[in-house]
């Protein structure tokens, strides 16, 4: 007699915990062939705000961790994701309708993306910063620092890889993230939350919402405690309105991009602020 499986309940990932939507809502997730896969939480605007509160609370400590430490935590994500490779292949195969080989290649690239960004944590500063030869007796240095809380619409065409490609670069500098997953393929996003929860990533550093980007994003775009808005996966939304809403608090904005963003230093630098410090030198 075959053993009856125990299907997973997919919930949100907010503040290091896995709550259901406060709204009590869920939605059906199906395979491309239309087969029922699971019910996912349908996040509300209140869930979005709760996620921002968690992200803000976690931000100073994450930014204050040493760059070496952040690099190790991001590398730890790669280690744990690698350990759960089979599970992600299964989920991606089911939700994207691709072969196990294609899904495997995506998971491998997701893992390698974490490794790539892990290595940037203690290096981008020397690429983006500068010592400045000012005309006067001053020690003058420019260093990049995290922008703060970044709200992200993940690519809507990729369950895992697209999500990793937008979340990882935002974390490098010490930003914290509220990300809305691929609406139709949200399951791997929550499984990634489980990886994050066991990877020494402090609770609240990454918050993952599943549901409708069209419903939640406007509340994040206008939220006064969000510093930056990554609209990479928002191409199908009324994204110009989102950019206009973001302008009210002068958020830094990445406009929508077709396809997947890949790996890029520019994505790290999009969410940093350059701080220039002038310090007097004694005249001896």
């Amino acid at each position: 007699m075959s053993r009856l499986q125990i299907p997973k309940t997919y919930k949100l990932y907010i503040g290091g915990a896995f709550p259901r939507s406060e709204s009590g809502r869920s939605y059906e997730v199906a395979s491309p062939a239309g087969d029922f896969l699971a019910n996912a939480s349908l996040a509300s605007r209140k869930d979005g705000r709760d996620a921002v509160v968690a992200a803000r609370a976690a931000q100073p400590k994450w930014a204050g961790a040493t760059a070496y430490n952040r690099g190790q935590v991001l590398y730890r994500i790669a280690e744990l994701l690698d350990g759960r490779r089979a599970q992600f292949i299964e989920e991606i195969t089911a939700s994207e309708g691709v072969t196990a080989a294609v899904a495997g290649a995506q998971v491998d690239e997701a893992i390698d993306t974490w490794v790539w960004y892990a290595g940037w944590c203690d290096k981008y500063q020397q690429v983006a910063g500068s010592g400045n030869p000012v005309s006067g007796p001053y020690f003058n240095i420019s260093v990049p620092e995290p922008t703060g809380v970044v709200a992200i619409v993940a690519p809507q065409s990729s369950s895992l890889l697209g999500l990793v490609q937008v979340v990882a670069p935002a974390l490098v500098a010490g930003n914290t993230v509220v990300v809305i997953a691929d609406e139709a393929r949200p399951l791997s996003a929550i499984s990634l939350g489980e990886v994050l929860a066991t990877s020494d990533v402090p609770g609240g550093v990454v918050n993952i919402l599943t549901g409708s980007p069209a419903e939640i994003t406007p509340w994040l775009a206008s939220h006064a405690d969000v510093n930056a808005l990554d609209l990479t996966g928002a191409g199908a939304l009324e994204w110009v309105d989102l950019e206009i809403a973001a302008a009210d608090t002068l958020k830094r904005v990445i406009r929508p991009e077709p396809g997947l963003p890949g790996r890029s230093l520019d994505r790290i630098l999009a969410f940093v602020e350059t701080k220039t410090v002038w310090h007097t030198k004694a005249l001896i």
């Binding site: 690429v127 500068s130 006067g136 350059t274 701080k275 220039t276 002038w278 310090h279």
Partner: protein, 481 residues
């Protein structure tokens, strides 16, 4: 009664200026008439008219952008970096040669003391062009990838507080990176930009590479919204910055915004008090406080509050307010009637909300726009004058007990442009600097600027940087910020 502080008048002569009775728009290398209603630019110290300036209509803006596009495609983007650099070096030298004239013009039109336009503004203008001139043939080495590409036509809108210096901050990096420019000076201070156009002619800069259109807000709006503009660079108020960010939403225009500020100037009890007092004065009374990065909130450690405020009042009592052209003047004229009214209104609110107002004893001239250096003590963090940018010679004094409290109060603002820290302890300075959410931090100094040093804000003080390699990247493709 005379005392040792009384000086004989020593005004700089205006005979060095040879101004025209009226100025047109500088488009495609030539002066053309504007189709808007011409307006007068006045000397804020006397309220007398200096000259008449053209106003650019949206059709004129079209012409200017078209000229910039033509020269971008035919001339400037195909010219070698070395040659672009040589033009910028020429401009730097011409600015130095005509420094005295430019300083007088700036002081006449803006109201700032001649010692500031002569010793700060104009030398920095030359330095800015000289610095970016050297980048023009070294873009490959700027760490922005191989052969970084220019953006195209840059629309640049500058404020009235440092008219020529802001022009240099905008034009120098844009041209070095290979872009062409349409620049709109502020309505109340167009004069130095118009003299600069003459310098461009002397430098034989190819026609259309830099176009200067004078006018008010509508001219700027037409420029920002122009569909053939690739880059918008704006320095001014956060309110207008928001409107610009909205106007460019959904386009692929790249944007740099340098907006308002409400900088904290933090004085610890171990600070060198003499220097700190000078730094506080420089921080808020430099350029009549018309400085977006002005140290308008003095956060002083409770134990030294009385001493610092007393010494500050003594020092302010020695400042000379009056004729901006006088070489001994410390505090010049407020730039416009509107600004004076805003400063007065906010100061009255400060008083009404319970802060203790102190005004430096000085004689206010009969004509012109003036506001005596003013300190508000016992200001609460919720007070309007502790939250809103006054953009005038008005200092709010608040106290703190611990570094953590100083940091929390300093960061308690939607702005994040600059901050100051005064302490004899370097390790404390660096620890506090780490925690401040501001783009420029001055330790045991204030209001220092240099073309090699990136400048710009966090949060609602805008985004992007001007100055240094960062300021160059703002005018190149692919480079973020």
């Amino acid at each position: 009664m005379t005392n040792f502080l009384d000086y004989a008048p020593a005004p700089e002569s205006t005979s060095i200026l040879h101004l025209k009775k009226s100025y047109g728009l500088f488009i495609d290398g030539d002066w053309v008439e504007g189709r808007g209603k011409p307006f007068a630019t006045i000397n804020p110290a006397t309220e007398k008219k200096i000259t008449t300036v053209a106003s650019a209509s949206s059709d004129d803006v079209d012409l200017a952008v078209a000229a910039a596009r033509r020269s971008y495609e035919k001339t400037w983007s195909t010219m070698s970096g070395a040659d672009r650099g040589k033009y910028l070096f020429r401009i730097a030298r011409l600015v130095q040669e005509r420094a005295r004239e430019l300083a007088v013009a700036e002081t006449l039109d803006n109201g700032k003391p001649i010692k500031e336009s002569r010793d700060v503004d104009v030398p920095l203008v030359a330095a800015w062009f000289f610095y970016y001139a050297g980048w023009a043939d070294k873009l490959d080495h700027a760490g922005l990838g191989a052969a970084p590409q220019s953006l195209g036509v840059a629309a640049q809108i500058i404020p009235w507080n440092f008219p020529l210096l802001m022009l240099a901050w905008k034009i120098a990096p844009a041209l070095a990176a290979g872009n062409t420019v349409v620049l709109k000076p502020a309505e109340t201070t167009p004069l130095s930009a118009l003299l600069f156009a003459e310098i461009l002619q002397q430098a034989d800069l190819p026609a259309g590479v830099v176009n200067i259109v004078t006018g008010a807000g509508e001219t700027g709006a037409a420029l920002v919204r122009h569909p053939d503009v690739n880059k918008v660079a704006f320095t001014g108020s956060t309110g207008v910055g928001r409107e610009i960010a909205k106007a460019i939403a959904g386009t692929d225009k790249k944007v740099t915004l340098e907006l308002g500020g409400k900088a904290a100037n933090i004085v610890f009890d171990d600070a060198p008090i003499d220097q700190a007092v000078e730094g506080i004065v420089n921080g808020i009374f430099f350029n009549q406080g018309h400085v977006c990065c002005a140290g308008s909130r003095l956060l002083v450690q409770e134990s030294i509050h009385d001493e610092v405020v007393d010494r500050l009042k003594q020092r302010l009592s020695t400042l000379r307010l009056g004729d901006p052209l006088d070489k001994n003047t410390d505090i010049g004229a407020i730039n416009s009637k509107e600004q004076l009214e805003r400063i007065r209104a906010l100061s009255d609110i400060g008083e009404a909300e319970g802060a203790d107002r102190w005004t430096a004893p000085c004689v206010i001239p009969e004509n012109g726009f003036w506001f005596a250096p003013t300190i508000f003590d016992n200001v609460s963090t919720s007070s309007t004058i502790a939250r809103e940018e006054v953009f005038g010679p008005v200092l709010s004094v608040l106290t703190f007990r611990t570094p953590a409290e100083a940091i929390a109060k300093a960061n308690n603002t939607p702005y994040g442009l600059s901050a100051g820290i005064w302490s004899d302890k370097g390790s404390k300075i660096l620890a506090v600097a780490d925690q401040l959410r501001a783009g420029v931090i001055w330790a045991n100094t204030f209001n220092r600027f240099d073309p090699a040093s990136p400048f710009g804000g966090y949060k609602e003080s805008g985004y992007g940087r001007e100055g240094g390699r960062h300021g160059l990247a703002a005018y190149l493709k692919g480079a973020t910020k």
